[in-house]
C-alpha cells in the first residue's frame, strides 16, 4: 500500500510540475518563456479552428465563386482565392480539423499500441521479449515514412487509414522506449518489496510498474505529435490522404503546386499553418520534457 501512495504522490508531483508555469511577470520572462507562451496561444487558436471553424472562417470552405478565381491576397480574401474561387483562409481554417485529427489520434493509437507491446515484452521477458523485440528491430530499419506510405497505399485513401498508417510507423519506437522503462522499473527495490509482501504479478504490473514507467512515454508522445502531423501531411501531399470536399493542409498544398507560378499563396499558407502548429507543439513538447526530466531541465 505504501508504495502505491509513493507512486501516486510521484505522479501528482510530476503533474504539478508539468502544469506549473513561470510566474507571470513580463519583465522577468526569458526568451524561451516568451516562445512557450506564444506557442500556447498558437496551439489554442488552431485547436479553436479545428473545433469551431465556422467562428473563424470568413466564408464557406466549399463556396466556389467563378468570378473570384486566383485572386491575390486582399481585404476581402486575406489569403487570396484558389483555382476554384474558394477563399484560401476559409479552406485552411476548415482543413485544420483533419490535419489535427491525424496528428493527435495517431499519436494516441501509436503510443498505446507500442506501449502495450513494449510493456508486455519488458515485463514478460524471455522468449516473448525476444520475439517481439526482433520484430521491432526489423520494423525500425524501415524508415517510418516508407512504412506509413506502404500501409496507407495498401489500405486506400481515407482519414482512418492515414491515422492507422502514421500510427503504425511510430509503434516500434514507443515499444522500444516502454520496454526499456519497464525493465529498469522491474529491478527497483520497491517492486521487490511489494512482491515480498505477497502482491501478485498483475497487481504489481498495473499498480506499480506501469504507472511509474509512463513519464518518458508522455514526453515521447508530446514530441511525437509534431512529427505525426508532418508524416500525415506528407501522405496527403503524395495523394494518399483523404479525398474530401474540404482538403486538409497537405492536400491543399498539393493542389496549389500546379499554380505555383501564378498563385504563390495557395501553397504558402497551408504550409505556414502546418509549420506554425508543429513548431508550437514542439516548443511545448520541449517544455514538457524539461519539466519531467530533471536531467535536462536546463533551458
Amino acid at each position: 500500500m505504501k508504495e502505491a501512495a509513493v507512486s501516486s504522490g510521484g505522479l501528482s508531483l510530476a503533474r504539478r510540475r508539468l502544469l506549473r508555469l513561470p510566474h507571470f511577470n513580463i519583465s522577468k520572462l526569458s526568451a524561451s518563456d516568451l516562445f512557450v507562451y506564444g506557442a500556447a496561444i498558437a496551439v489554442a487558436l488552431i485547436l479553436l479552428c479545428a473545433i469551431a471553424p465556422q467562428w473563424l472562417a470568413p466564408y464557406s470552405p466549399t463556396a466556389m465563386q467563378a468570378d473570384q478565381v486566383l485572386l491575390h491576397p486582399n481585404w476581402s480574401h486575406p489569403l487570396g482565392t484558389d483555382y476554384f474561387g474558394r477563399d484560401v483562409l476559409s479552406v485552411v481554417v476548415y482543413g485544420s480539423r483533419d490535419s489535427l485529427i491525424i496528428g493527435f489520434v495517431s499519436v494516441l493509437v501509436g503510443s498505446l499500441t507500442g506501449g502495450l507491446i513494449g510493456a508486455l515484452a519488458g515485463y514478460a521477458g524471455g522468449i516473448i521479449d525476444t520475439i517481439l523485440m526482433r520484430i521491432v528491430d526489423v520494423l525500425m530499419t524501415i524508415p517510418g515514412v516508407l512504412l506509413a506510405l506502404a500501409i496507407a497505399a495498401a489500405l486506400g485513401p481515407s482519414l482512418t487509414n492515414v491515422v492507422l498508417a502514421v500510427a503504425a510507423a511510430t509503434v516500434p519506437g514507443y515499444a522500444r522506449v516502454m520496454r526499456g522503462q519497464i525493465m529498469s522499473m522491474k529491478a527497483r527495490p520497491f517492486i521487490t518489496a511489494s512482491r515480498s509482501i505477497g502482491a501478485t504479478g498483475p497487481v504489481i504490473f498495473w499498480r506499480h510498474v506501469l504507472p511509474n514507467s509512463l513519464s518518458p512515454m508522455f514526453v515521447m508522445a508530446a514530441i511525437g505529435i509534431g512529427s505525426s502531423i508532418l508524416t500525415g501531411a506528407g501522405l496527403s501531399f503524395l495523394g494518399l490522404g483523404t479525398i474530401k470536399e474540404i482538403p486538409d493542409w497537405g492536400a491543399l498544398l498539393s493542389q496549389g503546386r500546379g499554380y505555383l507560378t501564378v498563385a504563390w499563396w495557395i501553397c504558402t499558407f497551408p504550409g505556414l499553418a502546418i509549420t506554425v502548429f508543429v513548431l508550437s507543439v514542439n516548443i511545448l513538447g520541449d517544455r514538457v520534457r524539461d519539466r519531467l526530466d530533471p536531467k535536462r531541465s536546463r533551458g
Binding site: V138, P143, G144, L146, A150, A153, A154, L230, N282, I283
Partner: protein, 308 residues
C-alpha cells in the same frame, strides 16, 4: 575488432532479410490486389482476373512466392515489374546515383550545420547565437519538406530565376533539394549536439581539466567535443535512413528521377518486385552507413577501442 565487424555484418544480413519479409507481408496481407489494379474492373470477367493472378503468380501462397523471390535474389535476379514487365535491377541501378547524390549532399549539409551550430550554441548558452541555433533547430524539425522545398522554388526559381525548379542533372539541380532535406537533419543534429555538449560540460572531468590549468579552447574542442559527438554520431546513422526515405517527398517536389519517386509510384501500384528491390538497396545503404558509424566510435572513443 575484425571479429566484431563480422558479427555486425552477420546480424545486418539477418535484419536485411527481415526487412524484405516485412515488406513482403505488408504488401501481401493488406487489402488491394495488383491484378485488379491492372485490369479495368468494368470490363474484366472473374476468369480474366484469375488468369492475370495466375500470370503474376498471385494464386500461390505468399511464403512460396517469398522463397522463390529470395532464391532468385541470391542469383542476382530482382524480378520484373508487375506493371510493365521491365527488369527491376537495371531500373534501380539507373536511378540510384541521383538519389545517392541527394542523400550524401543532404547528409553533409546536415552534419556540418548541425555540429557547428550545436557546439556554438552550447558554448555560448543564452547568447544570441544560441537563440539563433535553437530557432534553426526548431524550424528544421517543424517545417514540412514539401513546403520548404516549394518556398525555395518560389524564391530562387520563380522570382530570381537562379536555380532550376526541377530535374536531376547537374550540380545546380542538386542545391535546393539537398538544402531542403539537409535542413531537417541539421535541425535534429543541432538539438542533439547542444544537449549532449551541455551534459558533458557539466561533468566532473571538465572541472579536473580546468583545475589542471588547460585553456578553455583545448578543454572544449579537444575534450568536451569528442565526448559530445558520440551520441550525435549515432544519430547521424539514423538520419541517413530518414534522408533516404525523405527523398520520396523531395523527388516529387523537385520532379527528380530517383528511386524515391520510383518507390512511391511502385507502392501505389502495389508493384511488389520494384518495392522490394528499392527497399533492398536502401537497406544496404542504411546498413553500410550504420556499420561505418559503429566503426567510427573506436576512432573517437578510446574506451570502445580498448573494449574490442
Amino acid at each position: 575488432m575484425g571479429k566484431s565487424v563480422f558479427v555486425r555484418i552477420y546480424t545486418s544480413l539477418l535484419v536485411l532479410v527481415g526487412a524484405l519479409i516485412v515488406v513482403f507481408i505488408i504488401m501481401n496481407v493488406l487489402p488491394g490486389d495488383p491484378a485488379l489494379m491492372m485490369l479495368d474492373p468494368a470490363e474484366s470477367t472473374p476468369e480474366m482476373i484469375a488468369t492475370m493472378r495466375h500470370q503474376l503468380g498471385l494464386d500461390r501462397p505468399f511464403y512460396v512466392r517469398f522463397a522463390e523471390y529470395f532464391v532468385n535474389l541470391l542469383h542476382g535476379d530482382f524480378g520484373n515489374s508487375m506493371v510493365n514487365s521491365d527488369p527491376v535491377l537495371p531500373k534501380i541501378i539507373k536511378h540510384f546515383p541521383a538519389t545517392l547524390a541527394l542523400t550524401a549532399m543532404s547528409s553533409a549539409i546536415a552534419v556540418v550545420i548541425g555540429i557547428v551550430l550545436g557546439v556554438l550554441s552550447a558554448l555560448h548558452r543564452n547568447k544570441p547565437i544560441d537563440l539563433l541555433a535553437r530557432l534553426i533547430g526548431l524550424f528544421g524539425i517543424s517545417m514540412p519538406t514539401f513546403w520548404s522545398g516549394i518556398l525555395l522554388i518560389l524564391i530562387f526559381s520563380v522570382q530570381l530565376g537562379w536555380l532550376p525548379a526541377m530535374g536531376s542533372t547537374g550540380f545546380k539541380s542538386l542545391i535546393m533539394p539537398s538544402l531542403t532535406l539537409g535542413l531537417v537533419g541539421a535541425g535534429f543534429i543541432v538539438r542533439m549536439v547542444r544537449t549532449s555538449m551541455l551534459d558533458v560540460i557539466n561533468e566532473s572531468f571538465i572541472v579536473t581539466l580546468r583545475s589542471k590549468g588547460l585553456s578553455e579552447r583545448v578543454i572544449m574542442y579537444q575534450h568536451a567535443l569528442r565526448n559530445a559527438l558520440i551520441p550525435a554520431i549515432t544519430m547521424i546513422g539514423m538520419i541517413v535512413g530518414e534522408m533516404l526515405a525523405g527523398t520520396v517527398v523531395i523527388e516529387t517536389v523537385f520532379s527528380r528521377q530517383g528511386i524515391g519517386r520510383i518507390i512511391a509510384d511502385a507502392i501505389m501500384a502495389k508493384d511488389l518486385p520494384v518495392v522490394q528491390g528499392v527497399v533492398f538497396f536502401s537497406a544496404v545503404v542504411y546498413i553500410i552507413v550504420n556499420l561505418l558509424v559503429d566503426l567510427s566510435y573506436s576512432f573517437i572513443d578510446p574506451r570502445v577501442r580498448r573494449a574490442s
